[in-house]
């Protein structure tokens, strides 16, 4: 025999379904319907912002890795995904330099300086968004665009405000009682579900995000525990807490589905234990609703996920898996 036999540790086969690159690509694919819809809804401007954000992300990743003397891994798709998600979290009317700064911050500071893929402790896209919110609050909260063909029924002239803005400060836009009533109206809920409303680039269509998210759960990339924990606790609080919006209004408005399916479930920044993932999801749901009802911002998805990201190491520490054959209380001896 001329050629030597190859030796390696078992197992000698690997699951075919996905590796990291494929997983990233599948998440991006799941978001593409939303991207197409947003381009239709807000015009070509939305697509340009997304592209700027993605290109900046990839370039920053390559440059930082080069400077740190690491292998350049832009092909794994994680930088593309970060850029995409960041853009999805921006209002469609923002100036074009804003996504550049946001992406650069996300990749350089939130990701690469902490060690790159697998080592960042908070979701880079959300960190980028939080950075922009803190630095240019007016650009981040005022640059809403009116969706094409989409208005909240009967609330003329204020179509560019996001539904959650209307809910938070109805008196700014007219008679609060009428506005609240219209917000909870069935036609409004329908618009919200389909996505013909104002909002961030990628958050408006609950329907498309739901389809993409369920697809990712089915193929096993997204963990159902986080999603169910998140939405479950959110729904419960929406029913209990004193809020002017109905349950369906809360469920379909804002970035809830984008956050619950695509941001909270980020592998790196969510807990690894099964119990931990439940706690993480439930925590996100509670914080989101608390911010919506009593917080200063109309929307609480991104901050609640960021907060829970910070708790992730603690949750992992406190919720170790139960080892097979472990006796519950050894103290009895």
């Amino acid at each position: 025999m001329k050629e030597l036999l190859q030796v390696s540790a078992s197992p000698h086969i690997r699951a075919k379904y996905y590796d990291i690159n494929q997983a990233m690509r599948l998440v991006i694919i799941a978001l593409i319907p939303t991207l197409i819809f947003s381009t239709y809804l807000f015009g070509i401007r939305a697509l340009i912002i997304v592209l700027i954000s993605i290109i900046t992300s990839v370039v920053c990743e390559a440059v930082t890795q080069r400077m740190l003397g690491k292998e350049i891994t832009i092909a794994d798709g994680s930088a593309v995904l970060t850029g995409l998600l960041l853009a999805f979290n921006l209002p469609p009317g923002v100036p074009f330099w804003l996504p550049i700064i946001g992406s650069a911050f996300a990749i350089i500071f939130a990701k690469q300086l902490f060690g790159g893929l697998g080592y960042n402790f908070i979701n880079p896209a959300l960190a980028g968004r939080a950075f922009l919110m803190a630095s240019w609050p007016s650009a981040m909260t005022k640059e809403w665009l009116a969706p094409i063909n989409g208005t909240l029924s009967g609330i003329d002239g204020i179509t560019s405000a996001t539904p959650l803005n209307l809910l938070k400060n109805p008196s700014n836009y007219g008679d609060p009682n009428i506005i609240i009533k219209q917000l909870n109206d069935f036609t409004t809920i329908k618009s919200l579900f389909i996505g013909k409303v104002g909002g961030c680039i990628g958050e408006t269509s609950a329907l498309l995000l739901l389809i993409g998210g369920v697809f990712l759960i089915i193929i096993g990339i997204v963990d159902y525990r986080i999603v169910i924990g998140y939405l479950g606790s959110f729904i419960l609080l929406a029913l209990i807490l004193p809020t002017k919006g109905s349950l369906l209004f809360h469920l379909f408005s804002g970035g809830l589905f984008l956050g619950a399916f695509f941001m909270a479930t980020d592998w790196v920044t969510s807990p690894i234990t099964k119990k931990g993932r439940w706690i993480f999801g439930i925590g996100c749901g509670i914080l989101t609703m608390l911010i919506r009802v009593w917080g200063g911002y109309p929307e609480g998805v991104s901050y609640s996920i960021l907060l829970m990201n910070v708790f992730t190491p603690l949750i992992d520490r406190l919720t170790k898996e139960r080892i097979f054959g472990e006796i519950k209380k050894e103290r009895k001896k």
Binding site: M1, K2, E3, L4, L5, Q6, V7, S8, A9, S10, P11, H12, I13, R14, A15, K16, Y18, D19, I20, Q22, A23, D76, G116, L117, G118, Y119, G220, D223, W267, V268, T269, S270, P271, I272, T273, K274, R277, K320, E321, R322, I323, F324, G325, E326, I327
Partner: protein, 430 residues
């Protein structure tokens, strides 16, 4: 009534030889019989260079409680006793016997015996003398498993016919072709253990095997096809819903598990006084011209077995002894088949996997049948923090490979954990 355990994976089964009948391989010209084929101390050599041996002649004596005797598998002459490649430990002392082509059996062997009237102690002694070890792969001496301490009452004996490893079909064929022998062997175990209940466990991808056993009137439990269903602790959990405590043995929950092949070997030992000198091996993979289920004499080299199966299709890249999930990749085609060899897999290609960074996806945690956190243990091992690795249950790992199988970053988790286990044990001995 399919039952299960938590975790596990579904690797492609690829059991291409399940319809191929067991075929006895012609005698090899030479056999290389290692003195160490079992868990425990190697056997003490009894023969010297030049000695004449027959089939079944004891050539190595059990050395200590956890050990097992070794027998000649062909008749002929001992040409050498020296170190030779070994499928599990790399290299070990082997008895090399050249065949005289007579296939002459040791006196008293192959003569039908009436074993029904024997006492438990006598049966146990026969199994011990026949050198029978667990044929599922771990090769733990069977008589040790059959002699639990008095205070451990065994209420259930489970005969393991799961064969959850992909590609292997040796146990499956054995059940289909020799069900009576297996059942008789199981009853011998049952008598020795004085266990009231006897259960045969089969996965639901072998319903024909389950059917045959059922027809003979024994209790059969059909389990979901899921890897590693045949792992002892997972099997007990699935069949009886009992959990073997950490660091404990099946007998701590009143159970003993034996492989179907072991039961058949025990039957042959009791009925014909035949020591363990052959076993069924599945020879498969894209590198073998004619995949087969072969009855192979212990000590036959891999290359002889492969040549009997028509030889290689293309130059081999990887030869595995065992299944693709837990088997051991061999560095030489000279390694002999030993008592624990359930399969020989030959591949003409073997992808190498680029190890990426852990992205904390937690699939290893979701699939671990032992409830461990492989990614955490791997990180501790990488940082040489063996104390923490042990706290996270490194020693509970059964090395089934589910974690590494499903890791999207292709991290060889089992490799790291095995290393960690070895280091933990080494540090403890100090």
């Amino acid at each position: 009534m399919a039952k299960g355990f938590s975790g596990g994976v579904h690797p492609p089964e690829e059991k291409h030889t399940e319809k191929t009948s067991i075929e006895a391989m012609p005698l090899p010209k030479r056999v290389y019989i290692p003195f160490s084929q079992h868990t425990g101390k190697p056997a003490r050599p009894l023969v010297e260079k030049g000695a004449e041996v027959k089939v079944g002649t004891k050539i190595g004596e059990a050395d200590g409680f956890i050990s097992s005797p070794v027998h000649s598998s062909i008749s002929g002459k001992v040409v050498d006793i020296k170190r030779h490649p070994h499928p599990v430990v790399g290299e070990s002392l082997c008895c090399i016997i050249e065949s005289d082509n007579q296939d002459e059996w040791e006196q008293g062997v192959k003569v039908k015996q009436n074993y029904e009237s024997l006492t438990r102690e006598e049966l146990l002694q026969i199994i011990k003398d026949a050198g029978i070890v667990g044929l599922g792969g771990a090769a733990f001496p069977t008589y040790v498993k059959l002699s639990p301490p008095k205070e451990k009452k065994i209420d259930t004996l489970i005969i393991n016919g799961c064969e959850c490893e992909p590609m292997l079909t040796a146990d499956h064929r054995l059940i289909l072709e020799y069900p009576m022998g297996i059942i008789e062997g199981a009853r011998i175990f049952q008598r020795i253990l004085d266990a009231p209940r006897l259960i045969f466990a089969v996965e639901d991808n072998k319903l024909d095997a389950a059917q045959i056993l059922k027809k003979e009137g024994v209790e059969v439990v059909i389990l979901k096809t899921k890897y590693p269903q045949g792992a002892e602790k997972q099997l007990i959990k699935a069949v009886l819903n009992r959990e073997v405590p950490r660091g404990g043995l099946p007998m701590d929950v009143g159970c003993v598990v034996q492989n179907v092949g072991t039961a058949y070997a025990a039957f042959q030992a009791a009925k014909y006084r035949k020591p363990l000198i052959d076993r069924v091996v599945t020879v498969t993979g894209d590198g073998v011209k004619e995949p087969k289920n072969l009855l192979v004499r212990i000590g036959t080299r891999a290359i002889d077995v492969i040549n009997h199966c028509g030889g290689y299709t293309n130059p081999p890249k990887k030869i595995i002894f065992g299944g693709p999930m837990m088997g051991i990749a061999q560095f030489s085609e000279e390694v002999p088949v030993i008592k624990g060899t359930s399969g020989i897999i030959v591949w003409t290609s073997s992808p190498t996997f680029q190890e990426g960074p852990c992205v904390r996806c937690a699939s290893c945690i979701d699939v671990c049948p032992m409830g461990l956190m492989p990614t955490e243990i791997y990180k501790f091992v990488q940082n040489r923090n063996f104390q923490e690795a042990e706290k996270f249950g490194a020693l509970d790992c059964i090395e089934c490979g589910c974690c590494a199988f499903s890791c999207p970053a292709k991290i060889p988790l089992v490799h790291y954990i095995k290393f960690g286990k070895a280091e933990i044990r080494r540090l403890k001995q100090k």
